[in-house]
């Protein structure tokens, strides 16, 4: 039952995010837009590259979707509504997100296209940096909750949300999240400018629809993760638990999606340099600070 | 119960065998490293199997698994460091060409 509710809320969320992204990209809020584009995609002929690596070509988008779903599985929308409350939930979420990378490599390598391949390997180069920037803030959050399970993490934020408790961690997590689901300021794998669609260049028809849907799910998963870790999940004064987490997820997703309009795309080397030389040290510092505060401040 | 242990260990042994074959038979250094990775994975499987079925209450076994993971990571890093150096100087990492140590 909870799985069904989670999937439904996921579908609704994906729809709303698609609408938001449409609005962010085209400037006009057209509620029906996602449905139309989805149908259009399904209707189109699905082309195949000349000598593709068929296995990867097919599995890429599906693996991306699976990764997104696995990640969502661990996010608690309300005290009861969580697919599997693993003892190592936070780590599991991260493990799932790691497979976004594998999926993108497959999607990039599969169609035997230059732009796709470059997009895939470029994402690999960055992912090593994101992984650090995702895992370390999570460690800090787990440090405070003294347990890896996402439900305990949310419960630990009842007194003070983690965004106030460890803002640095939040900032790093958000930056890494933006990179992980390659939203505009960091959309290097599918950079429309220089890679002409990158990963999505070779895909058409159903596979492209699956790829886009999978991307939406990943965005939602990351938004959900940010909410659980930093914005106190379902905690909130008046509304019931699930409403709060729904609203929060949507807000965070909306912010993530619309951030692309403000900031120009970050260059590959620049981003790498920033995350390795600046991000990781800051993340380590964040863990240290949270460790000290956790020892000293009783809340 | 004993059967699961046997299955896990046989899986480990099988991976060890393939890894060994791969490490010895491949001409390319990278493939050899992958062979070694497989052997180490086999070791991991055996370790967890021993932990799960023989000494579940003993955390040291799990700690040792982490050590083996670290070994895998280190082995890969250094392996590829040398591979890059060799590739840069010799142009290829084919083991056939590495005759410098000839006695």
């Amino acid at each position: 039952m909870t799985v069904l509710t989670v999937l439904l809320s996921l579908a609704a969320g994906a729809y709303l995010i698609a609408m938001l992204e449409g609005w962010a990209v085209h400037g006009r809020l057209q509620p029906a837009r996602p449905v139309i584009s989805a149908l259009a995609l399904l209707g189109r002929e699905s082309l195949l590259a000349r000598k593709p690596d068929r296995l990867f070509f097919e599995v890429g988008p599906v693996l991306l979707l699976v990764a997104g779903l696995l990640a969502v599985a661990v996010i608690p929308l309300a005290p009861g509504i969580i697919v599997t409350d693993l003892a190592t939930g936070a780590l599991f979420l991260n493990a799932a997100l790691a497979y976004v990378l594998v999926a993108l490599i497959m999607a990039g390598w599969g169609p035997n296209g230059a732009y796709g391949m470059i997009g895939g390997w470029r994402f690999l180069g960055q992912f090593v940096a994101y992984a650090m920037l995702v895992v370390m803030p999570i460690t800090a959050v787990a440090l405070r909750a003294e347990s890896l399970s996402t439900v305990d993490i949310v419960m630990s934020q009842s007194a003070l949300w983690n965004i106030a408790y460890q803002p640095l961690g939040f900032a790093l997590f958000i930056a890494a999240a933006m990179g992980l689901c390659w939203l505009p300021p960091l959309d290097l794998p599918t950079a429309p400018g220089d890679l002409a669609g990158g990963i999505e260049a070779e895909y058409t028809g159903v596979r492209l629809a699956v790829l886009r849907l999978a991307r939406m799910v990943v965005i939602l998963a990351l938004a959900g993760a940010t909410v659980t870790f930093y914005l106190g999940g379902w905690l909130g004064p008046w509304l019931p638990g699930w409403a709060w987490s729904g609203v929060k997820i949507l807000i965070v997703a909306g912010v993530m999606v619309s951030a692309g309009r403000l900031v120009p795309r970050v260059r590959e080397a620049r981003y790498l340099e920033l995350s390795w030389k600046l991000g990781i040290p800051l993340a380590l510092a964040n863990i240290f600070v949270v460790g000290v505060i956790a020892l000293v401040v009783p809340i | 119960m004993i059967l699961e242990l046997m299955i896990a260990l046989t899986a480990g042994a099988a991976m060890f065998g393939t890894g060994l074959y791969g490490a010895l038979s491949q001409t390319n250094l990278v493939m050899i490293i992958m062979g070694v990775e497989l052997i180490l994975a086999a070791a991991l499987v055996n370790l967890v199997a021993f932990w799960r079925y023989l000494h579940p209450e003993e955390p040291a076994a799990q700690m040792f698994v982490l050590i083996i993971m670290a070994v895998m990571a280190v082995e890969m890093t250094v392996g590829f460091g040398i591979a890059i150096a060799r590739f840069r100087s010799r142009g290829s990492v084919e083991m056939e060409e590495a005759r410098e140590l000839k006695g």
């Binding site: - | 060994l20 490490a23 010895l24 038979s25 491949q26 001409t27 250094l29 050899i32 083991m95 056939e96 590495a98 005759r99 410098e100 140590l101 000839k102 006695g103």
Partner: protein
Amino acid sequence: MNFLALTLLAPLLSGLTILALRRAPEALALAGAVLGLIGAVGLFIAASDGTVQAVLPGLPDMPLRLVATPLTAVLALVVATVAGFVLTYATGYMAGDPEKARFFGTMLLFVTAMQGLVLAGDWIMLLAAWEMIGFASYLLIGFWHGRAGVASAATRAFLYTRSADLGLYLGAFLLIGVAGTSEISGTLAITGAPALIAGLFLLVAAMGKSAQVPLQDWLQRAMAGPTPVSALLHSATLVAAGAILLIRTAPMLPGGALLAIGIVGGLTAVITGLIALAERDLKRLLAASTASQYGLMLVAIGAGVPIAALLHLIAHAAIKSSLFLGAGVFQHDREGTGLDTLAGAGRARPGIFAGFAIAALALAGIPPLAAFFSKDAIIAAALASTAAPWLLPLALAGSVLTGTYMGRALKVLWTGEAGPARTPVPFMAIGMSVLVALAAGLGFSFGALEHVLGAEIEKPGWIVPVIGLAVGIGGLALGWFFAPARLLGPLLAPAQNGFTVAGGMDGLILRPSLSIAAACEAFEQRLLAAQIGLIRNLGLGAARLVDRGDGQLFKFSIWIGQQSLRLGRGTRSMDTNRIDVAIFGLVRRITAASTRARRLQSGLIHRELALTVIGIGLIVIVLLTAPHYF
């Protein structure tokens, strides 16, 4: 304390910068001199109410001391003033000279050394400064080393003063040894025999430096240096060193030493006075007159009143330097300082001649001017001293002679037709006029000076000034109206060549030492020849001996060669057919084994990897089976 440093360091630094930069030497020199003067004035004011002392780290328990008692401060002031104005004069005088930088640099170094000597508080500092001024005078005298005779004059001056300095060394070391401390004031308390001996040694040093009788020859020859040098060194400072030394050690000197000093001083005064009278060159005349004036000072010291000597020293410094500067101007006009060439030069330059005349009259002892007071003090001291019968006539004769040669100099300069007046000489004029003013006006300051030095001279009655005046005017009149030949008569010839007794210094010392050196040279040559001969026949005998032994040796080695040949043949045969066979066989087998082993070392990574795996397998087998069997 900083005035002390300023007096010493200002000239030193400017000298060094001039030598280093070799640019704008006049400006730097004047700056250094003026600063030194200011320092000296400040020092004098500071010292007038209490001695200023500076202790510098020197030898382990003998630190170098600079002490500015009123006495030394006055001397420092004199040196600084004379140096300042001589340097201003020198800027004009050396205008055309290409090596001005070297000149001014050495002059300033000399001034520093002189200030060091004057202010020295301990014997070692005094010794060092003494040597420095000797060296600086050598450099300055030999400044135009290109010209003929200048270099020899400089070396001669140097040798004279150096040999005399031995006296200073012996005296100083004796004093330090006996007193135990190197501080001059400390050593003054010594009495008895050591004091007498030290006193005599110091007298010898003073005679050398102040060109007293036996050693006066170098001063005339030192005139070969440029006139500012003679003005500064050979009138006020360097030559004064001897007198200063005796003045400062006067309290320690016992009666005998004082008598000796007095007699030496008197004799010098008379003899150099005669030489000055007989001189044919204006600068040599002034040099001889310097020696005679210092003779008078020694007479004053001998008479037991060092203060009179000090006053006369100060007056003489101003007078003689202005005389020299005047002579320098005339030298510029007439390109030479011979009296016959300078005849009438004074008439061509009335201003300069007026200054020259004032200074000359001052020296002769005409009342309002400076030397009158100091000369009176000397005559009074000679009169009042115990050894009056010895000292008084010599002092009087000395002052008469001073008057005569000054009168003769004036007469020569004034009579004779005036040559063309050359270009104006501003700097020279300024330098000279100030010194002349000093020469004139110093006398009045002597009273205040005595009060500062704390040693009042009891004013003699009316007798001494009258005698002094008579002597002065008499001398001048004699000089002006009677030619020297008539005055000296028989003494003219010897006086002209400096009363050289038995060939003079050259004869007495130079030639004998050279001949001794030649004799030693000859002896040494013969010695060398003898040695070579000895070695030669020794070597030949040994060689014959060795030759015979070598013959036998040769025969013996031939024999041994044959034996070894036979032995060699035997071993070769044994070796070839038995041992080689065995070795080569072994070698073949080893190479065969190694080629097989080499295949093992194929260098192929994967082959080696396989070998390692096989190795591990063997190890595992051994590990598993071993526990069962052993």
